[in-house]
Amino acid sequence: MVYEVDNTEAVEMKHIISILLENEAGALSRVAGLFSARAYNIESLTVAPTDDPSLSRMTLVTTGTDEIVEQVCKQLNKLIDVVKLVNLTDDAHVERELILIKVKAENEQRDEVKRIVDIFNGHVIDMTDSTYTLEVTGDSEKIDAVLKALESITMLEVVRSGQLGMGRGNKGMV
């Protein structure tokens, strides 16, 4: 990455970056602090320990020109807690996001909501007399599409996990 000289135009693009970092107190705030200190965008950020409890895996979505994102990656790599970093954007990779939505579901709306959830391969994971709680997973476009499909329904609460990402192919990140 260091020796790359790119000549692309200054177009802002979404990038999905995977980071392995030491599972230590303060590591997350080093990453988050870097973004605010250097005025970089952060669209979503998820982090949790991996199978190796000494490591955390973070997926971070940011937008910026290629030059800015190159700086973001270099600055992240400079953090002592960052063990490895891969910008997944340009290579084949899979992305998943999970959304939980609590919607009003009364009378004929109960069937309508159920139909929409089925179309998106989602589930109803909790219910009351007047509400459903829905779970849908997919890439961000699909999640956006679910939200659009439910536009006419009253949504009481929405929570998105932020994106997770992993490169395709037979190699692991470490």
């Binding site: 000289v5 303060g26 080093r30 200190a37 270099k74 790599n77 002592i80 063990v83």
Partner: protein, 564 residues
């Protein structure tokens, strides 16, 4: 044998070869101070304010290349150290700052003198640690020194809760350390080095632009060989002065906002720019869109994040300056005679035309003391051999322009953060590291007052500094900008109640001399440097409205300098 956490800290410092710790005691570090009481190997220098401790450790580090070590208490001790930590961070100075912390069970309770030191210092350190277990002290210190001194150096903070310093365990210091997440690059990429050499050899209007990284990376010898073997012109940043001798005819002096005309014109018109350990700071580049429009750029830097951060470069080489320049010098020595001799001669003729402008001339016939004159006389009085520290402002620029630095680590100033108050405590660190050597602090009446309490420390440890106070009654650089850009509305840049600096110096037990006439400048300096064991405070009453020239105004390119 079991040692307490506090004793282990001392043992760690000994193992790292630390001879001085700069600090100030307080509740959370009392166990550590008690451990100091029982030994003589690591000497403790008691400052008068924690900011002074950090700057003194910083001056020690800059003048020796060894990490400076600071010890302060929790809460206000740590927050007072913040300015000094940020100063070191911006100039990549290796430093270890030990901050006391409230006992573990009180953390997060808003306890007396509690502050989140790790949180506060996070954006201004290379790394920081909060030690949770007495068993982790030794490995943490090993890691801290390793991180602070390798790669692009920087300050590391170690926050230690008080209870841990009392617990006892068996001590063992690790001989080596490995960190899976930290492996700085040392050697440059061979292919990149060959590409760089080809470009360097084909240059017709080359410029070498070297910075503080050459000094930090101990690459001064290699830089001299490189520059002299090619006979190319070289300009140095504020932080890089001394890496290449100012007295060498190949040197065009400093570049940037207050750099020389020949250096900035050379930058603007060059066709190949070799940037070495420099980071294209905004005070150097001026308007980025107008920066080096015709140049192919080679950039050697240990920090990959410095490459193409502000200016896109053509041939980046990541690694330490010294081994990379060694490799380049070897390639150059082994290659055929340069074929660009004619072009280089023409280039020098052009540069000499720019030089003939004498951009650093000033009114030498004035009967008021000119600040530039004081610096020139200081150079002569010290034979150009003194360590010089400075504060921040006009005097800093005059020092950089008129004291020709011939060796690395001789010029010590806060370039990145621009911290007023740096000069005096930094000079203390320099003098402790170099007893018997001449150490001058070029300052102004505004800057010196920001850490003037350290005059007391100087008396306690018999530090015979020479303070060159360029006293014009104004915050000179602020006033200069107000004159240029705010129609002389001098808002708050004038002190109506300055102290009698001679009396101040004397009340702290030093010698004070007030100098008001140009004819008295040299005799006063000579008298001061004759005082081998005394601090002398020289208060030079200088031209009130002298400006620093030449100057690149904001938004302009390097070829758009204002000359006198």
């Amino acid at each position: 044998m079991e040692l307490s956490g506090a004793e282990i800290i001392i043992e760690c410092l000994k193992a790292e070869g630390v001879d001085y710790v700069f600090g100030y005691p307080g509740g959370a570090v009392l166990h550590i101070y008690d451990a100091f009481y029982n030994q003589d190997d690591v000497k403790h220098i008691l400052v008068r304010h924690e900011q002074g401790a950090t700057h003194a450790a910083d001056g020690y580090a800059r003048s020796t290349g060894k990490p400076g070590v600071v010890l302060v208490t929790s809460g206000p001790g740590a927050t007072n150290a913040v300015t000094g930590i940020a100063t070191a961070y911006m100039d990549s100075i290796p430093m270890i700052v030990i901050t006391g912390q409230v006992p573990k069970h009180l953390i997060g309770n808003d306890a007396f003198q509690e502050v989140d030191s790790v949180g506060i210092t996070r954006p201004i350190v290379k790394h920081n640690f909060l030690i949770n277990d007495v068993n982790d002290i030794a490995t943490t210190f090993k890691k801290a020194f390793y991180v602070a001194t390798t790669g692009r150096p920087g300050p590391v903070v170690i926050d230690i809760p008080k209870d841990i310093t009392a617990e006892k365990i068996a001590f063992e210091y690790p001989s080596t350390i490995e960190m899976r997440s930290y492996n700085p690059t040392v050697k440059g990429h061979n292919g990149q080095i060959r590409r760089a050499v080809d470009l360097i050899k084909s240059a017709e209007r080359p410029m070498i632009y070297s910075g503080g990284g050459v000094i930090l990376g101990n690459g001064s010898e290699q830089l001299r060989t490189f520059t002299r073997s090619l006979g190319y012109p070289i300009t140095q940043t504020l932080m890089g002065l001394g890496a290449f001798p100012a007295t060498d005819p190949l040197s065009l002096g400093m570049l940037g906002m207050h750099g020389t005309y020949e250096a900035n014109m050379g930058m603007h018109h060059c066709d190949v720019l070799v940037a070495i350990g420099a980071r294209f700071d905004d005070r150097v580049t001026g308007n980025l869109e107008k920066f080096c429009p015709d140049a192919k750029i080679i950039h050697i830097d240990v920090d990959p994040a410095s490459i193409s951060k502000n200016v896109k470069v053509d041939i980046p080489i990541v690694g330490e300056v010294a081994p990379i320049l060694n490799a380049i010098n070897k390639e150059l020595a082994g290659s055929a005679e340069l074929t660009n001799k004619g072009a280089i001669e023409k280039w020098w003729a052009q540069i000499n035309e720019w030089r003939a402008q004498e951009c650093l001339k000033y009114d030498r016939s004035s009967d008021i003391i000119k600040p530039q004159f004081v610096v020139e006389e200081l150079y002569k009085a010290t034979n150009g051999e003194a360590f010089i520290t400075s504060d921040v402002g006009q005097h800093q620029m005059f020092a950089a322009q008129y004291y020709g630095f011939d060796r690395p680590r001789q010029w010590i100033n806060s370039g990145g953060l621009g911290t007023m108050g740096f000069g005096l405590p930094a000079a203390m660190g320099v003098q402790l590291a170099h007893p018997g050597e001449m150490v001058g602090c070029i300052t102004g009446e505004s800057s010196i007052q920001m850490c003037i309490q350290e005059l007391s420390t100087c008396l306690q440890y018999s530090l015979p500094l020479k303070i060159i106070n360029l006293n014009n009654g104004y915050m000179g650089m602020v006033r200069q900008w107000q004159e240029f850009f705010y129609e002389k509305r001098y808002a708050m840049s004038y002190f109506d109640a300055l102290p009698d600096f001679v009396a101040v110096a004397e009340s702290y037990g030093h010698i004070g001399i007030k100098v008001e006439k140009p004819a008295d400048v040299r005799p006063a300096l000579d008298e001061a440097f004759k005082q081998k064991d005394r601090l002398v405070f020289l208060d030079f009453i200088t031209d009130r409205e002298e400006n620093v020239y030449p100057m690149i105004p904001a938004g302009a390119g390097l070829n758009e300098m204002i000359l006198v």
